[in-house]
């Protein structure tokens, strides 16, 4: 039996999405920037998609910019705000995705900004007092904190961070890649200046994402070229991708409650079974806290064992696709920077299971059974 439990890495395309994309790849193939009928038909599909996305997020279409994915959206927001708004200080956390962390580190190395890392505790919780302390010494900073952590699932208190950012006149970029399409985002309520989405994390296609830019926040383009995306992003638009993204987000919002119930049930089932069957099992970050972590992600910490190094390999052999993540214990070993920051013990094995609406209870049970088998206590002779 196969079990795909790596949905935080990428999700399966929804057949409904594929259907929406098909006409754009076959009969409607014009360049949306062309003024002839072939071009205009495609342009209108593109703008409909923008309207759909904006509508779901309670934003205006002019605030949505399509990109090649979450990474480009994050890069655009970070570099654009620092360069255009002349920001010299940025605050982030050691738990961010590399699209954020590496971009900021690069700018810091170049001397464009000073970079501060907000403290996190061993559960991966952001120390909001420390954030305030950093903001009070360096107001008008760029704050980049993710909404849902892709490895341990921790959810950020968006309201609290947003409130702090407004108080200290900071620009707030929130990497929402893991929550987009899984949690409702209401941009009338949310005070972030930038949020992002990547279609392939919510059953849309790879290679397409978007950036929301709060009105009044002007940033320069990141990719220079033609006048596409209202001069914000050169390059012929990936129209089927964009149409697929809009459709996927529409479905995600339509079925959100039902999917959440289903997936949350699976996560709980897995937690309960693992606790019951594996002595000494732990969960990283806030992963086991259903209210304060992504319902799609479970980060499991397994007790010291000879088989730890071969865990993912063994899971793969058993048909289970999950994701690893070991703490950086030695200098040469490149492990997960997130688990490293949490200082998880080096003698434990970590595995991330992540779920989607297509995941079944059978898949979860299969995975638990295989893991339990691997960690079965050998009788001491």
């Amino acid at each position: 039996m196969k079990a795909y439990l790596d949905n935080a890495a990428t999700t399966r395309l929804d057949p409904e999405v594929l259907e929406a994309m098909l006409p754009l790849m076959t009969e409607q193939f014009g360049n949306p920037s062309s003024i002839h009928a072939h071009g205009r038909a495609v342009r209108s599909a593109l703008e409909r998609a923008r309207k759909t996305v904006a509508g779901l997020l309670h934003a205006a279409p002019a605030e949505i910019f399509f990109t090649s994915g979450g990474t480009e959206a994050d890069n655009t927001a970070i570099r654009g705000s620092i360069e255009t708004l002349g920001l010299t200080h940025a605050i982030t956390s050691p738990l961010e995705h590399h699209a954020v962390l590496h971009t900021l580190e690069h700018l810091a190395r170049q001397g464009r900004i000073t970079l501060s890392l907000v403290r996190v505790d061993e559960k991966g919780q952001i120390d909001l007092d420390h954030l305030e302390e950093l903001l009070s010494t360096q107001p008008r900073a760029l704050v980049s904190l993710m909404h849902g952590n892709n490895e341990i699932g921790n959810l950020l208190d968006l309201d609290a961070v947003g409130e702090l950012c407004s108080r200290y006149d900071a620009i707030f970029h929130c990497d929402t890649v893991q929550t987009m399409g899984h949690y409702p985002h209401d941009l009338q309520q949310l005070s972030a200046h930038f949020i992002v989405g990547a279609a392939h994390k919510f059953h849309g296609p790879k290679g397409v994402g978007f950036l929301y830019v709060r009105p009044g926040t002007r940033i320069h383009p990141f990719v220079h070229g033609g006048a596409q995306e209202r001069n914000m992003r050169g390059g012929t638009e990936n129209v089927y991708g964009i149409v697929g993204l809009a459709k996927a987000l529409e479905i995600a919002y339509r079925d959100m409650d039902e999917h959440r119930r289903h997936i949350e049930g699976l996560k709980k089932r897995m937690i309960d079974q693992l606790r019951e069957k594996i002595e000494g099992v732990l969960f990283n970050g806030l992963s086991a806290d259903l209210d304060r972590s992504l319902y799609t992600v479970l980060s499991v910490s397994l007790p010291p064992s000879d088989i730890n190094d071969m865990l993912l390999f063994n899971l793969d052999i058993a048909g289970i696709s999950a994701s690893g993540g070991s703490a950086c214990s030695s200098g040469s070993e490149v492990g997960s920077h997130v688990l490293g920051a949490l200082q998880v013990p080096a003698d434990r094995a970590n595995v991330r299971f992540s779920f989607s609406k297509f995941t079944t209870a059978q898949e979860v049970d299969h995975a638990v059974q295989v893991v339990a088998e691997l960690y079965k206590r050998e009788p001491i002779c």
């Binding site: 072939h38 070229g225 990936n238 696709s321």
Partner: protein, 375 residues
């Protein structure tokens, strides 16, 4: 009727089949270590090989991006803004695509010194002039292979030689030539070649670039997109596996069908050109230059291109390049060739592809004829 293949091409059926199949069956993340990931990664590798074969490189020199515009931004900014680069001089040309020009304007705005090598009335550059512009401080020469508006072909082998001798990088926007004409990046001394899928019967939203392994080994190019360090750290972002597989298929097809397409399309183009030249006051832009076989850019005295396009909504042709065409303004390429504003505005670009027929050309000529009689 579609006569705007330089703007974008339909997706070849064989390519869309590969894309659909990959979209449906292969959904792993190509960076994942499990079987789903490995399956995706194999497809990415396979596509890399197909592309390398067409341009005469090896697969490790091929990098995927979201399209030629990103490739060009990456190449120019990646070389210019690298912390170890101290050279500030760049040579390009006013007939380049907006992706090159806008990126160069940006670099100019932050202190780079850009020379715009002029073209003559045929759209041709002067190689001696190019050599004379080179300085100690010249970082790179950025010249396109085939012009998107006129089809004029630059002598890339010679440009490559000049760049090599000067110790400057040769960055070449190959978007309109790759897949249509044979090329060998090694023989042409090209350091970076940019290309796009949707100009060669693959989908929009995918493209790539060739980066000479020697240039890469010098570690003088930095990424545009930072993140998960895909593409050997040079381009972050989850691999767009379905479109990468489609792009590979399009390259594979182009290798087999290049010659047949050329012969057929060239005959259509020649017919169109001969007939258009019979019109009063008509001339072909770039007529005396080496040109690609699929493009005709004609100026017709007093011809109102925008009204013609407005009336003939069923015919897809262009008044310049699509990226600028929502604004009615004369083409920067034609102006650089010395055309007057009115001649530039009275021009049409017809760009043909493998699905065109003789009837398409006849119908276009008839419509132009009717339009002119009406006037």
């Amino acid at each position: 009727m579609y006569l705007d293949y330089n703007s974008t091409t339909p997706v070849d059926k064989r390519v869309s089949e590969v894309v659909f199949q990959t979209l449906t069956d292969v959904y792993g993340n190509a960076s994942s270590q499990h079987s789903y990931g490995i399956r995706a990664r194999l497809l990415v590798d396979e596509a890399r090989s197909s592309i390398a074969k067409v341009i005469g490189s090896v697969k490790d020199e091929i990098y995927f991006t979201s399209g030629a515009t990103e490739s060009i931004n990456f190449a120019l900014k990646g070389l210019a803004l690298h912390p170890r680069n101290s050279k500030r001089h760049i040579i390009t040309c006013p007939t380049e695509h907006k992706a090159v020009l806008e990126t160069c304007y940006y670099l100019e705005s932050i202190g780079f010194d850009i020379d715009y090598l002029p073209v003559n009335e045929h759209g041709v550059i002067d190689l001696e002039k190019l050599s004379s512009l080179i300085k100690q401080d010249t970082l790179l020469i950025c010249l396109m292979w085939v012009n998107n508006e006129t089809g004029v072909i630059h002598p890339i082998e010679k440009i490559g030689e000049i760049a090599k001798e000067a110790g400057a990088y040769f960055v070449c926007d190959g978007t309109q030539g790759v897949g249509k004409l044979p090329i060998n990046v090694v023989e042409s001394n090209i350091d970076i070649l940019c290309f796009s899928g949707h100009k060669m019967y693959a989908p929009k939203g995918i493209g790539g670039l060739y980066i000479n392994s020697y240039a890469k080994a010098q570690n003088r190019i930095q990424p545009l997109l930072h993140g998960g360090a895909q593409e050997n750290g040079l381009r972050s972002g989850t691999y767009n596996v379905p479109l990468i597989a489609g792009l590979g298929k399009a390259f594979e097809i182009s290798l087999v069908e290049m010659e047949t397409n050329k012969i057929f399309i060239e005959s259509l183009r020649n017919k169109a050109e001969q007939e258009l030249l019979k019109l009063d006051g008509a001339f072909i832009n770039g007529k005396r230059a080496p040109r690609i076989f699929n493009t005709v850019n004609v100026s017709i005295l007093g011809f109102d291109t925008d009204v013609f396009i407005g009336i003939n909504k069923d015919i897809a042709i262009s008044n310049g390049s699509a990226c600028n065409s929502s604004l009615i303004q004369p083409s920067h390429v034609l102006l650089a060739m010395g055309l007057s504003n009115s001649d530039a505005i009275s021009s049409i670009r017809i760009s043909l592809g493998k699905d065109n027929t003789n009837d398409d050309i006849d119908l276009l000529l008839m419509r132009i004829h009717d339009f002119m009689t009406l006037l």
